[in-house]
Amino acid sequence: MSVLELDRLCRETLRDHAFRKAMQTDPAAAIARYRLTEDEKRALLAGDVVTLHRMGVNDFLMGYLARFSICGLNIQTYSERIISAGPGGGH
């Protein structure tokens, strides 16, 4: 598990505008610089925030993916998905 790497990646979408752009246009290439497991890459690229949440990724940081429309997410799809994790569905 590389939860710290995922948390870092999410935060960089706020701080590094070139990385944000890369995540919006070619996320599979953009995430190469992060040391992620195959499961983590798959969940991230699918915008599967429920799985990421259950892996322990910080919700607040994960929200940047929705805010900046990354990996198919926006506020609507993000909220639909994360709500399905349920109040006891995470960490």
Binding site: N58, M62, G63, A66, I75, Q76, S79, I83, G89
Partner: protein, 275 residues
Amino acid sequence: MAHIVAAYGLPHTPFFPSKVEEEGPSSPTGVMFGKARDSLAAAKPDVILIFDTDHYNTFFFDNFPILAIGIDEGFRGPNDEPRGGMPVYDVPSMPRLAEAIRDEGVRSGFDIATLRDFSCDHSVMVPLHFVNPGMKWPVIPFFISGHVPPLPPARRCFELGRQIRRTLEAYPEDLRVAIIGTGSFSLEVFGPRIRLGFTDGVPDPEWVHEVCRYLAAGDTEGLIAAATEDRMHAAGNVGGELLNWIAMLAFTDNRKPDFLDKQMENGHAYAGWRL
């Protein structure tokens, strides 16, 4: 000695500056911040001490203190991409006083990390934007970890406030000090308890009412007893921001607030005490 002249509890919702810019100062949010701004101006402070929880911008998980203080001539913010309605400010500070707070705190058993050459996010800058126009008064930020388990106990945060108060009251300069604690009581941000189509939600409105009952009654002991870690997390993933209010309450001597306004749609409140 320094004198505590006022204390405030305030929210820091990131889009409030743009909201009030659009809706005007007579909008509910504009009016509620306006009460604190007018009260603070009348208190004529020389310096503001603000208790705050950083949102992973000043700190990150690779270096994550439970308690920390900013000690420098000044700082910048917000450092997390403003949502409109406010510029990036340069805020003056008061490093010698901040150093005294750190030194006496550590010697009294509070392990306070030191920040130098730092910036702050919206959680410090939004309340300052509304109550410290032009950033004319110096500000000392004090950070309390209030989001990620394990949280420091409410009792410990109150005792921290008392310790800082002792330092201020023994400080050799004649200064007028205002205290701010900032944060929500019940709020979930980007977690499973948000509202559909929104970035946040208020999972536990009853807790907001309960916290406000303690505040209105000046019952700080009751609030500390009720504010267990489980209770705060149950109120939302930023529910621990209440700890910033509890540290601030160490300066109010259990007095009833001069004003207390709930904003239920955001799970928070505005309160003020002239002291």
